[in-house]
Symmetry: C2
Subunit: 369 residues, 2 copies
């Protein structure tokens, strides 16, 4: 509640899907007046019924407009908001920022001071107002991309909105943002989807051998095509160089596989291509920041075998809780066909031995990774 004073209302939310309705819910919890607009009466009324705000008529005068429409109709919606509410700050939440500000400027025909684009990096595999939650933005990064003529006041208003809903504002240039999400979000989505697509015709016996590696690589392939195809299209210029580089490296590997299949692994150059591909991947993976956006910290991992019986995981939780040891991270893994899971607990290296001792005393089978 302490944050409500920083967001200047009323706030108009245009587009009451997952993001718009979630923003409405979060602001309403802070006591901020929220008006809602959506071309779909069903989505509008559902968002209202959920408590995200009140349908806004022509006499609604917002201090801040948040355009949360699908990406392909963002520009006209921002332009309309600027014309209808010349005194309000206008932002949008599209996941590609690119030429938005330029296209808005062209249509408004003037330097646009009160518009600033932004991108809250929050989402779910489900969409629509029914999936909305006031906690959706908690702990997420909210990127703000000011263009040349964005006013400081506009940037400040969006920053206040981000903080109010629990997000971490981060200012970046639009091109820098788009290049970043192309590499860390759009390319991985593409790779996960194309890899998962290979599983469509696999025999069930082969899929039964799937382990955690395949599950991890393809988890985000469950995403919605109607959400992702516009993102890939709109950010095509930024995704293209990464996809081309991937294509070239995959092509090298395919050639090496072909040579190895025909001439054997002793054929000159074959092992260099394979070892190079795996080694370069190791170098790249090591650059992904760990917790808190810093360099990856090294934790000790304690693996605990959990029989797949009701209550066992609950008992483990209770008994870890009794140990009074801070668990930094954890992961559950089930082998295909196994009546047993493995819980991997990350702890500070100095805490691994006491944790293992505590759990072993209680009869758990543990090992250190």
């Amino acid at each position: 509640m302490a944050k409500s004073a920083d967001v200047r209302g009323p706030v108009l939310v245009v587009g009451t899907g997952l993001l718009g309705a979630s923003i409405g819910l979060a602001l309403r919890e802070l006591g901020v007046e929220v008006g809602l607009q959506d071309i779909s009466p069903a989505a509008l009324h559902l968002a209202r019924d959920l408590g995200a705000g009140t349908p806004a008529g022509p006499d609604f005068h917002p201090a801040l407009v948040v355009v949360a429409t699908p990406p392909d109709v963002i520009v006209p919606a921002v332009v309309a908001a600027l014309r209808d509410h010349p005194d309000a700050v206008v932002t949008d939440v599209a996941s590609v920022k690119g030429s938005l500000a330029g296209r808005v400027g062209e249509q408004v025909g003037a330097a646009v001071a009160q518009y600033v684009g932004s991108h809250p990096m929050a989402g779910r595999e489900r969409s629509g107002p029914a999936a909305a939650d006031s906690d959706l933005f908690q702990g997420r990064t909210w990127v703000i991309c000011p263009h040349e003529t964005s006013s400081d006041a506009a940037v400040g208003a969006v920053r206040a909105l981000a903080i109010a809903v629990g997000a971490l504002p981060r200012v970046m240039e639009a091109a820098e943002h788009d290049a970043a999400v192309a590499a860390v979000s759009h390319l991985p989505q593409l790779v996960a989807s194309l890899t998962a697509a290979r599983l469509r015709e696999l025999p069930a016996e082969a899929l039964a051998l799937a382990g955690q590696g395949l599950r991890d690589v393809t988890r985000i392939a469950a995403s919605d095509p109607m959400m992702w195809s516009p993102i890939l299209a709109v950010n095509s210029a930024a995704v293209l160089p990464h996809a081309e580089a991937l294509l070239a490296s995959l092509s090298d590997v395919v050639n090496a596989l072909r040579t190895a299949a025909a001439e054997g692994m002793g054929a000159p150059g074959v092992m260099r291509v394979f070892a190079g591909a795996i080694e370069e991947g190791r170098q790249g993976a090591a650059r992904i920041p760990g917790k808190h956006g810093g360099a990856a910290r090294r934790y000790a991992e304690v693996m605990v075998f959990v029989p797949d019986k009701p209550g066992e995981l609950g008992r483990l939780f209770a008994e870890i809780g009794q140990a009074g040891i801070n668990i930094e991270d954890l992961r559950m893994e089930h082998a295909a066909g196994a009546k047993l899971g493995v819980a991997t607990l990350s702890v500070l290296p100095a805490r691994a031995a006491p944790l293992m001792e505590h759990l072993e005393e209680l009869g758990w089978r543990v090992m250190v990774s």
Copy 2:
């Protein structure tokens, strides 16, 4: 201990790396006599010091030989074992089975009844005897690939070994096994490595936007090039068709990205390619079996926000434990830069509401996925 009677010892382990030393440890715990061989005296003595068995001299007469050498020296090691121990069953643990039996048969110059190849699907990111653990095979699948002349007794001996160390034996043809692991293990490894390699030259500011999706896709890219490059080389024929299909689909997407970047997202066919790629991925991902090797079961997911303070995750565990609700699975996620994590708990749909109520009463912020 009940299983020890089923494994006929003594067992000779040839190659005392991660797998060989782990087999030795597991068998010693069951009281089975284990002899060890390794061309590296350092690895041999370390495995002995860890309790994996005793260095085997020429007068060691095993009932079962497990060849756990690196993949490129498996065939001569199996041939030597068959010549030195004509009465013993011989198996190997190489992750590609392919032509092994045929090549062994050629060299031994006879129908080989007492040899049968196998593949325990267990591993870690670390290698060598120092990483060994008697629990390494718990709950893992151990594939057994009999060739035409493998005796039932040989298959039975390897099956007994697998069960004794806690694994689940599964009999498959070698070609079927190699095709399966090419698709569910080797291709995903390649994809993860090539995708992670793209991160090498990314600015740190871009990497700071990395979310759970990128982390999942690239987790296995941390693997060892010296382990993976021989696997790709030896199984090249089985990996090749999958890699070629992936190359073709990636090439289609690159062409669509190029068209979209040049002509805009309205260019004919562009959206069909993007939506098709994501949709096909969704279909493929849906085929990955869930727990217990069956069809993926649907659990309700309850997300709990966990402040990043010492003891909070431990407190959550303790309080979930008190609820007496069976947690089917869980996942921790940390946003980059956030002082907050999200624990996603999977429970049977009927248990989601009581769990949420219990946690909310205790002051946790929760949402249903």
